[in-house]
Symmetry: C2
Subunit: 176 residues, 2 copies
Amino acid sequence: MTSALNATAASLLGFLHHGPMSGWDLAATAETVIGDFWSLTRSQVYRELASMADAGLVEAGERGRRDRQPYAITAAGRAAFAEWIDREPGSETIRFPLLLTVSFGRHLPPERLAAFLSAHRAAHEQRLAGYEQQRSLAEASGGADGYAMATLDFGLAYERAVLGWFDRLPELMPGG
Amino acid sequence: MTSALNATAASLLGFLHHGPMSGWDLAATAETVIGDFWSLTRSQVYRELASMADAGLVEAGERGRRDRQPYAITAAGRAAFAEWIDREPGSETIRFPLLLTVSFGRHLPPERLAAFLSAHRAAHEQRLAGYEQQRSLAEASGGADGYAMATLDFGLAYERAVLGWFDRLPELMPGG
DNA sequence: TAGAACATGTAACGGGTTACATGATTTG
DNA sequence: CAAATCATGTAACCCGTTACATGTTCTA
C-alpha cells in the first residue's frame, strides 16, 4: 500500500471517474465544482498528475490538439480513491485575514477599517449573488445533483451568515 | 524596506504591542485570540521570532525562569506592523474536507456518509457551545472589547450557519 | 518523587503560491 | 496577421505541519 493520498490529488481522481481529462480541464473542473471550499492551482494539478502517473494511479494517453495531454484513472487509482473517500474527513480550516485586521482594529483609523469592511462586504454580496444564480440554473435545468446542491447550499448559508455579520458589526464595534 | 510580513508574523507583532512575551505565551495567546480564524503552531512561532529577530523587528531579552526567552517589539517592528495592518486584507480561504466528501458522495455508501456528517455535526455543536460560553463570560465581566466581540460574533454566526446546513441536508441529498 | 505542565528549539517534509517560459490554435 | 485563449510545464520560495529531542518547575 502506497502512502495516503492528499485531498487535492484524490479530488482529481474523483473527477477522472467521469473519463479521461487533461490537466487544464481538471483545473477548470475543480475550480467550478469544488473551488468554493477547496482551492487548487494549475501548478498543483500538473504536479499531482505527474506524481500519480509515477505511482500508477493515472495513465497519460496520446497527446491531442494543442499538445493536450489526457490522463485516465487506472484500477489502482480507483482503489486509492475509494480508500481515501472512506476515511474520516478532517475538520475545516478557515484563514480569514479580514478577521485579523478586525482583531487588531485598535491599530487602525476607524475609517480605514470601515473601508476594508465595506469592500469585503461587497465581494461577499457578489459571491452570494453568484451562488443564487447557480441555484436558479440548477433548479431550472431540473437535473438536480443532490450532492452538488448540498455543497451549493453550504455556500449560500455561509455567505448569508457573513453578510449578517457585516450588518451587525456597527453595533459590536467601537466607533461603528 | 524589507519584504512584506506574512500575516502570522504580523499577528505576533500585534500581540507584542502589549509588552514582551515568550514564544510559548505568544502561541497560547494566538490560539485563544485568533485561533478560530487563523491557525498557527508553536514551531512557526519560534521560527518567525527567530527570523524577525534577524530582521530587527523584535529583540530577545534576558532569559528568565525555565529558560523562558522573552521578545520585545522594536521601533522597526512597530513600523512593519503598522504597514502590514494598513494593507487591504486578502479574501479568506476555506478548506473543508467534509464538503469534498459530500461532493464525491456518490462514491460512498449512504450510511458511511451519514456517519461522517453526524460526527462533524456534533463537533460543530460543541464549538458553538464554546463560543456561547465565551460570550457569556465576556458579557458577565462587562469589559467588552468590541474588536474581540466582533470576531467572536463571526464564530457564532458561522457555527449557526453550519448547523443550519446540517439540518437541511436530509432534504437536499439523495437517500437523506 | 513521579508525573504533569511549562518551555525551547531543530529537522524534514509536503504542499500551496507565484513567477516564468514556451508554444498551439482560434477568432476578429 | 495580431491578439486572445488554450495548454503544458518548471523553478523557487514560503510556510504549515509533524515528529523529535531536551531540559525545568510545579504539584499531588
